[in-house]
Symmetry: none
Subunit: 207 residues, 4 copies
């Protein structure tokens, strides 16, 4: 073959990597297998990425870019606080359906093997949402949509905790089973879940 790699090929490689890492984890995923399944040679992985960790990180960033893009779009929609929350929840559902592996990779970095990069990644990944959510909440406070004596960053944190676990509960095996343990069949009724979580958040945000 020996044809120059198109950027689509690199994208395919990242997608294959994401699937492999999501299914088997950073350590159990096999670089040689990923290369074979992507139809490229191992060599190109080591040409484009420093090592397995570097490739994993690239896959991760690729996944998170898409994820965060959807979130941003939802957040910057017009409307009241709760309208935007609704958009957010629906975006989360959509992402989980369209890119099941992305959320799994996201969850992966919170665990063991990637903890060497924990601090840096958290800054990179969470910083933006943290500031965005906090800003939206401050804004809502200013508009009187929520209590004025609330701690905005912490409210944002609790709020994102709910979203994050919803994401994971849609996509990660363990969290999905856990969701089922709690809610049974209702867990599968996306619309119902959104309504219930909306109510929960609405109340939590107070008047």
């Amino acid at each position: 073959m020996r044809k120059k790699l198109t950027s689509e090929k690199i994208n395919e490689l990242l997608e294959t990597g994401i699937d492999a890492f999501a299914q088997r984890g950073l350590d159990r995923a096999n670089i040689n297998a990923i290369a074979r399944d992507s139809g490229v040679s191992v060599g190109v992985i080591y040409k484009y990425f420093t090592d397995k960790d570097g490739f994993f990180l690239a896959c991760l960033r690729h996944a998170l870019e898409v994820l965060k893009g959807e979130i941003d779009a939802a957040l910057s929609a017009e409307g009241s606080l709760m309208t935007r929350v609704e958009h957010l929840l629906r975006a989360i559902g959509r992402c989980a359906r369209e890119h099941p592996s992305y959320n799994v990779m996201y969850n992966e970095i919170t665990a063991g093997a990637s903890s060497a990069y924990a601090r840096q990644l958290a800054g990179e990944i969470e910083g933006i949402s943290a500031r965005a959510y906090t800003a939206v909440i401050e804004e809502a406070k200013a508009r009187g949509e929520i209590h004025s004596d609330v701690d905005a960053p912490m409210l944002a944190f609790f709020f994102d905790n709910l979203l994050l676990l919803l994401q994971f509960s849609y996509s990660c095996d363990y969290y999905r089973s856990r969701f089922g343990e709690y809610c049974g069949a209702a867990a599968a009724d996306d619309e119902y879940v959104v309504r219930q979580l909306m109510t929960f958040i609405q109340s939590a945000f107070g008047r």
Copy 2:
């Protein structure tokens, strides 16, 4: 040596395993090193546990037993819903301080490598909390502490999501950094965090 293994020795082995798995993850932890550090031979690990995965699972269950014990104790205290919630939050803080590795292992099973056991473990681990929280909420509904038209299991689920991420945010590198990104120094003020989360949950539970 060649002395029969005391159950004490087995406990020490599990503790060493938990620390190793928490620090390095299921795949990177080294069975031979764990044996050495516990002062036993690799042989006994393979006598008492089927394989590395089996040993990991045993470590996990050991950790979760302690964790769930604390939770149960807090939950079965006397008092109003919010009093029990407060006990719960404080128990979570205490566990995070006393057994930092336990929560990390808990988070570990939600990720990649252990997903083969996801369903089974989720049932084992989450089922009890799911039923306990749901029962407490139903009870609170009956007492009028929370709205009567609320979906108890789903409320329990959202509630546990908040608790779970608090646990992880106290103990797991990534989640701790994320907590810092959101809340800065306030993240380290346990008392303040408890108060804020109490308020959040109180509101979410509605009148």
Copy 3:
């Protein structure tokens, strides 16, 4: 098998290693092949030696110990300077016949791949001969067997140069061919070579 390795087995391993390194060089020798050919698993190589380099060094030291042992024996014989020289030359011939690979390994460390250890190894290996030869020459000077105004260490150096290249000329492919280019069939006549070199050295040592 799984039987504990006897020290003979380790010796066999070293011998196999020496042959492999002598035939193919440090880099081209294959650790897995060496293990297979010795009837042990790769694992034991990495249990007894830190890495390929460490194993190579162990092989080297094993070879040189034997070599230096023979030299020492010859040197500590009774008799005049030239008698001892004769013993030395015959010992060199014997070693070359009995352990053809040992000299090749010795030559190996003077080249490329092992140059990282050059200084240390030179001290370890040459220091003893350097002192021994110099002492013998000083002694001969004192006895009036050689000129009194000669620089003993440098004479020892030139002398050892002649011995070293004789060693290599008996055992290393290139040096052997070179020997043939110079001396034709005479190169194969050990006795004749010894006599000629004795004469050469005798003259060089002066009256």
Copy 4:
């Protein structure tokens, strides 16, 4: 670029190759790095040389041509045997200073990896010196400068052994350290070494 390769460029390539092979050895030197450092593509190396070994051999011949040129010049000078020897020794010193890598490559072929070409190379490289030295010695014999009953080729061999190890002792890490072990600071005093070796050879050549 895509300009035809000048012979100048090829020379630069060979020089870079020589440095790389001298520093890292045949196996550890990296063809791609050599190409990069010479400002040519890997492709041209494989156009002008059959493979890595072939390129190594070309580098070697390039180095030896220069080396042998200097030797020949010294040897064909006017004067007595010992005058020519002195020229030779000084030429060796000069080469070691001007082309440190050349001697290292020379030593490289005597070791492991290139032994496949040992015989052929030895003929190519040593044959000429062998005949030249032997001729000079025969001549000196005829002129009565050395004993008439000496074996000229063997004397030439011993003589070249001394020169060869002097070359290597000036340029190769291991041999240089060995030189130091024998002679300490005196090893660095070129003039002194030449004088001592002259005396040694003079005596060895006999009356």
